[in-house]
């Protein structure tokens, strides 16, 4: 994710419609939007005044077995319709057959005539033991790219919500648990770009995203967090049938660490990302974010832990 002073407020519905319209109809069913745009659409679609500040529109290609043909078809259509590779950084030049995998760029394309946002193609891991980042080669009309996958992205594939535009969005609940599992502790790695002028730890940004999703869920429907553990358990059992019980205890460790008083600086970073991202239209106080975390632990994480311990 890139964040800088030029990141614009975007309307989730308008962007989703534009993305769906550019994707070949036959492959729309293979697309699940994840991240801020998906959350923004889920929570704000019925209120056009509410927007999100994001630059990237992450498109998950699913299922994995169809990721390569779907990725090729989508990328080739977008190239044909004059979507543009970035002109700066490491993302603007496709590789060829001789380019090693670790030197290939991801497919990142701006819509014609705009640099307000771009789409990025991702896919889901091949198996439940495939927990690290994994890249596969994607050969397109414009050269070679990679499709990358991350361990817990497969959770976002669980029971996605189909939009009227024909593509789906990931559920807030599954995006939240994917981020929680991805950060069982506050790590030292920082984001490559600045977020509203600040260098932020990746774990704080992603755990902040979890808090933003929980806050929006509570604002939309009081007590809705109490419904999360059941869906989380179903998603874990579906995507990690052999290992889900082992995963449950690590769901809450990163968030609990973030909420400890001695880690207030990390929570403040999470707050900064929320206030300049998903919650830009309804900026929370630091206290609200902290309480949201505690409510999430009580309503969702502790009951999930109980489910995980049950026979």
């Amino acid at each position: 994710m890139i964040h800088d002073a030029n990141v614009k407020l975007i309307s989730p519905s308008a962007v989703l419609k534009q993305v769906a319209g550019a994707i070949p109809e036959d492959f729309r069913q293979n697309i699940i939007i994840v991240g801020s745009l998906a959350a923004g659409y889920y929570f704000f679609a019925d209120n056009p005044r509410l927007q999100v500040r994001t630059k990237d529109v992450d498109c998950l290609l699913s299922p994995r077995i169809e990721a390569i043909p779907a990725g090729q078809a989508v990328a080739n259509r977008l190239f044909a319709e004059n979507w543009q590779l970035p002109t700066e950084g490491d993302w603007g030049k496709a590789g060829d057959a001789t380019t090693p995998l670790n030197k290939l760029p991801v497919v990142r394309l701006y819509p014609p005539g705009s640099t307000d946002w771009f789409i990025e193609l991702l896919t889901v891991p091949e198996s439940e033991s495939d927990l690290d980042r994994n890249d596969i080669r994607l050969i397109t009309s414009q050269g070679h790219f990679i499709l990358c996958s991350f361990g817990f992205l497969s959770l976002a594939e669980f029971q996605p919500i189909t939009t009227p535009f024909g593509i789906a969005i990931a559920r807030p609940e599954t995006m939240a648990i994917a981020n929680l599992l991805h950060h069982p502790a506050i790590g030292s790695q920082t984001m490559s770009g600045l977020i509203a002028g600040r260098r932020i730890k990746r774990s704080n940004k992603d755990l902040g995203r979890v808090l933003a999703l929980a806050r929006l869920a509570e604002a939309k429907e009081e007590d809705s967090l109490q419904k999360w553990p059941e869906l989380w358990a179903a998603a874990l059992q579906s995507r990690f049938p052999a290992s889900w019980r082992k995963l449950v205890p690590r769901v809450g460790t990163g968030l609990r660490q973030l909420l400890r008083p001695e880690n207030e600086a990390d929570l403040e970073e999470a707050h900064h990302t929320c206030a300049n991202g998903l919650l830009v239209s309804q900026s929370p106080t630091l206290k609200l974010l902290e309480v949201t975390g505690e409510r999430l632990i009580q309503d969702a994480i502790e009951p999930l832990e109980t489910l995980g311990r049950a026979s």
Partner: protein
């Protein structure tokens, strides 16, 4: 699994009983400590105890201290200057304030917290209530009599009043003497109210907070949970010692009660003579914190019922209802004066003679 030993004697310290002991660590608990001198003397006592061969560490556990954290640090540094360093390094202090843990020199680990909570719970459950019992007893008996009268239950014997209030014969007699002009005394020595005891009621309203141990909780997050949400969560706790009062309770007794909306949740906790353990509040909403400011709108208000019998009425969903007298007090406290009168006048006892 290791077991916490409560109130355990320590060798070499005759008469001293450690609050709790686990694995060579002694835990001493201070609840709602507002006195710096008490804190200082506790630190000195800890230094004495840690010199025992059977003690590795001593931890002072402060539950909802009234003194500030910075004052605690000052006291800690003061103690460091007078306690031998080899003993002082084996001392620590952990603090739970508004449900949040901190500590000096370090916060407790997540693993330790359930054990610390158990130690606090034990301390709260076993300490006697500190309020003036004789002052409360009169208002307990008054409320029991009003309860009998409102619900048309007829005369009550002194024995019944003793049983419900949990007080002695002389206490009940003194109280009845005080409100004699409101009483109808029967030949079998039972008593009942002739009418609503307005001036005694007015006196009760003036001291209601103290008599009922009222504690208010306000939202600190800026996005308060609704009273309905708190109520749903309270039901999930399946507690029979907690009852719903306030506007909801009044509506239960009088479904036609004229009040739209529910500004807050009033509940009564039956604690008997012990201090009420309010740790369940965090389960209702971690965003709630105690407030003593009267200009702040609380989301949750808790009243303590200290008499022997709660007079709670069973609820259909497993959560009892506070008795109508508590509901009436809650309405007064909410400044719903006309609704209080309407509620009072809706009971059979007041039929034909509205107050």
């Amino acid at each position: 699994m290791k077991t916490i030993q409560f109130e355990r004697p320590i060798d070499g310290f005759p008469g001293f009983r450690a609050g709790a002991v686990l694995d060579g660590t002694v835990y001493e608990v201070l609840v709602e400590s507002r006195d710096a001198r008490r804190l200082r003397s506790a630190l000195m006592e800890m230094a004495r105890v840690v010199s025992s061969k059977e003690v590795n560490r001593v931890v002072l556990v402060l539950e909802e201290p009234i003194v500030t954290i910075s004052r605690l640090h000052e006291e800690w540094e003061g103690a460091a200057s007078v306690i031998r360093p080899e003993l002082f390094v084996r001392l620590s202090m952990v603090v739970r304030q508004s449900g949040k843990w901190s500590g000096i020199p370090a916060s407790p680990n997540a693993d330790e917290i359930p054990m610390l909570e158990e130690i606090i719970r034990h301390e709260i459950d076993t300490r006697p209530a500190s309020l003036n019992r004789s002052a409360e007893a009169h208002y307990d008996i008054l409320r029991i009599l009003i309860h009998q009268w409102l619900l048309g239950k007829g005369p009550a014997t002194v024995g019944l009043l003793m049983e419900i209030s949990g007080t002695s014969h002389p206490t009940v007699s003194r109280s009845l003497e005080r409100i004699d002009h409101y009483l109808k005394r029967h030949s079998d020595r039972s008593v009942e109210l002739r009418t609503f005891p307005l001036d005694e009621w007015t006196r009760l309203l003036a001291v209601s907070d103290d008599v009922r141990g009222t504690v208010r909780f306000a939202d600190r997050s800026g996005q308060a949970r609704s009273p309905e949400s708190l109520l749903r969560r309270l039901r999930q706790l399946q507690r029979q010692d907690i009852a719903v009062g306030g506007v909801l309770g009044a509506k239960h007794y009088q479904p036609s009660f004229d009040l739209v909306g529910n500004p807050r949740l009033d509940i009564s906790v039956h604690s008997g003579r012990k201090t009420a353990n309010l740790s369940f509040v965090e389960r209702l909403d971690p965003g709630l914190e105690k407030t003593v400011r009267r200009d702040e709108s609380p989301t949750l208000v808790i009243h303590t019922i200290r008499r022997a019998e709660s007079l709670f009425q069973p609820g259909e969903d497993g959560l009892p209802w506070a008795d109508p007298v508590e509901c009436l007090l809650d309405l007064h406290e909410l400044r719903l004066e006309s609704q209080s009168l309407e509620f009072l006048n809706s009971f059979p006892a007041t039929k034909g003679r509205p107050l």
